[in-house]
Amino acid sequence: MNLTSLLALIVSSTLVYSAPLILASLGGVYSENSGVVNIGLEGIMTVGAFTSIIFNLTFAQDFGAATPWLGALVGAIFGLIFSLLHAFATINLHADHIISGTVLNLLAPPLGVFLIKAIYEKGQTPNITANFGYTNIPGLADIPVIGKIFFTNTSAPAWLAIIITVLLWWILYKTRIGLRLRSTGENPQAADTLGVNVYKMRYIGVLTSGFMAGLGGAVFAQSISGNFSISTIVGQGFMALAAVIFGKWNPIGAMLSSLFFGFAQSLSIIGNQLPGFEKIPTVYMQIAPYVITIVVLVVFLGKSVAPAAAGVNYIKSK
């Protein structure tokens, strides 16, 4: 294996594993910046995964190659609907954010398997035929060396996720709505005094996280697992949550940490194909993202980096 194809293998598998994490962590960034902690990302991803798989299996013959993309959209929409539960509970009903998020995580897997059993009469769906697969990005793939490493046989959803990252970063830091969103996460009282509708902003934050995490779950299901079962989404959402924190609540940071986590995850899969890695027990690769997250939290982050009012319910006085 020469260097170019080695790098191409690492880059493409990193991108495949990063894409769901990037998308979900962007959602987490929006939710936490609006002041709502969302540990329900895992559950929302599960909803995105099973709805997209059901859509994919049902409509694959009608839409052909467009099926996974439409499936991703369906997953995102159902993710958004599912996150309404968290939004309503935390924003309107003053529920504890952690407990409400845990409910999403407790609810999604059995709900998915229940529906799968009700529809397919077994606990696991058949494998989908139309998945994301690998794409050559037209134009860019022809660039010598770089094109081969980054744009040939690569993951289209990952590149889409990177573009969305830039867009969401721009919205969060360069537009009025982004400023308002962040203000409700930092100091809802002050924001309210200045006429910002705190509840509306927080709804925008949570629903964005639902949409993005649903999208992430759908991408994971249609590019990595290929079907849905109880063990399709195990820890992806929590890893995305870690990426939010590792990335210091910034979309670009979350994307970079997701890429890093995706890299670490892919190493545990392709590690035995890489020279020098085959001797390291896979367990080190498997636990690396989690250990690194803890270390980063301890070493690099103080207590006050999170949006100041994240996790604090805002109760508008009458």
Partner: protein, 385 residues
């Protein structure tokens, strides 16, 4: 709005949540044209209708008691210990390993040793999160979640690569533990129709009592509660927040670890590879939330969830309803517990005692009565706050 006394309201919240959770389950069953009445009646019949079912229900409740007590101790100190699955798993593997490695030790040494080692393993896992929280202010929700996965993969590695092959049956299961390291009791099992009920339940009841005693009657419990209620005030009172943070997490992890021990030495009699965070951790969290972290609440809630889980198996075979409806009902119950604000809207607390000032309304308090305060006029009589 309905007026109730504060005490009644404390009971109403969980009871209504449970009923509402069952209703949600019934609605979902109706949508997919299953008969909820058949489903629920077959659930209760198979969980409570015969001795075997009853034994299995009690057996299922045992580890939940431990994990729930673990969660409750941490939450009294103001922590959300979401790492119960990892702590329980560490306890499970450790205890089974100890027993398998020392099959010749006499039972009265081996069993306590294995249980304590399991508790210690859970305590260490939770203690890491507690230590990081106390000294670095690291958010325990994130660290405990991360620790769940670290433990999950480490246990897989330790069992498959480090454990001597002589203790294993193939790659994914250990050998069954010998009788002198087991919590299995022949008479108890026979009494309950040859179910897997074991001595763990006695330990569980003991754990509930210890938890009650610890929280209500000891300085340790008082300090933990004080730190949880107001860390700043307790610091002024000379209570070390750092010490109590770590102590509460160690205790929490220790109990969760024994939850795993009970699974290993009681229910399964072995350890087998886990592919995702183990259920007793999440269920223990739900039990503690439903039981409002009180001793008696945890006992009742653990039995209720066990009825659901064991009865769910019967419901699946008898009524043909997918087992997952059980988990949906549990999640729904916790959702209703979480939105207790709704209960504040529904039920007002009755004002029982009313404060009456000895002076009449508008009477001036003279300079002597007001000590050195200003002359104030009493405006109104109000409830005792």
């Amino acid at each position: 709005m309905i007026k109730v006394s504060a005490k009644t309201k404390r009971y109403l919240v969980p009871i209504i949540s449970v009923i509402a959770g069952f209703l949600i389950g019934a609605i979902i069953m109706l949508i997919w044209s299953y008969n909820p009445i058949t489903a629920y009646s077959s659930m209760f019949a198979s969980a409570l209708g015969n001795m075997n079912g009853l034994g299995e229900t009690i057996r299922e409740a045992t580890p939940l008691i431990f994990t729930a007590v673990g969660f409750a101790i941490a939450s009294k100190a103001g922590f959300f210990n979401i790492g119960l699955p990892g702590q329980a798993q560490a306890g499970w593997l450790t205890s089974v390993w100890i027993v398998l490695a020392n099959p010749t030790l006499p039972k009265y040494i081996l069993l306590p040793l294995a249980i304590l080692a399991g508790a210690l393993a859970g305590a260490i896992v939770a203690g890491i999160a507690g230590f990081l929280r106390a000294y670095f202010g690291t958010n325990e929700v994130i660290t405990t979640i991360m620790l769940n996965y670290i433990v999950l993969y480490l246990c897989q590695y330790l069992m498959q690569q480090v454990m001597p092959e002589s203790l294993r049956n193939g790659a994914d299961t250990t050998k069954d533990i010998p009788a002198n390291g087991s919590l299995h009791l022949d008479w108890l099992s026979h009494l309950f129709g040859d179910s897997r009920i074991n001595a763990g339940i006695f330990l569980g009841v003991g754990a509930i009592l210890i938890y009650w005693f610890l929280m209500k009657k000891t300085t340790v419990g008082f300090e933990i509660k004080a730190v949880g209620l107001n860390p700043f005030a307790s610091r002024y009172a000379g209570i070390s927040a750092k010490k109590n943070i770590i102590l509460s997490m160690l205790l929490s992890g220790g109990f969760a670890g024994i939850g795993g021990v009970v699974q290993g030495l009681g229910t399964y009699q072995n350890y087998f590879t886990q592919t995702s965070s183990i259920n007793i951790g999440w269920d223990g969290l739900s039990v503690a939330l439903l039981g409002n972290s009180t001793a008696i609440g945890i006992l009742i809630a653990s039995l209720l969830f066990s009825i659901l889980k064991i009865g769910g198996l019967g419901m699946q075979t008898v009524a043909g309803v997918p087992y997952e409806i059980v988990s949906i009902v549990i999640a729904a119950i916790i959702f209703f517990i979480a939105i207790k604000y709704v209960f504040d809207l529904l039920f007002a607390v009755k004002k029982t005692a009313s404060y009456k000032h000895p002076l009449k309304k508008g009477t001036e308090i003279g300079p002597n009565n007001g000590v050195d305060g200003p002359n104030i006029k009493l405006q109104k009589e109000g409830p005792v706050l």
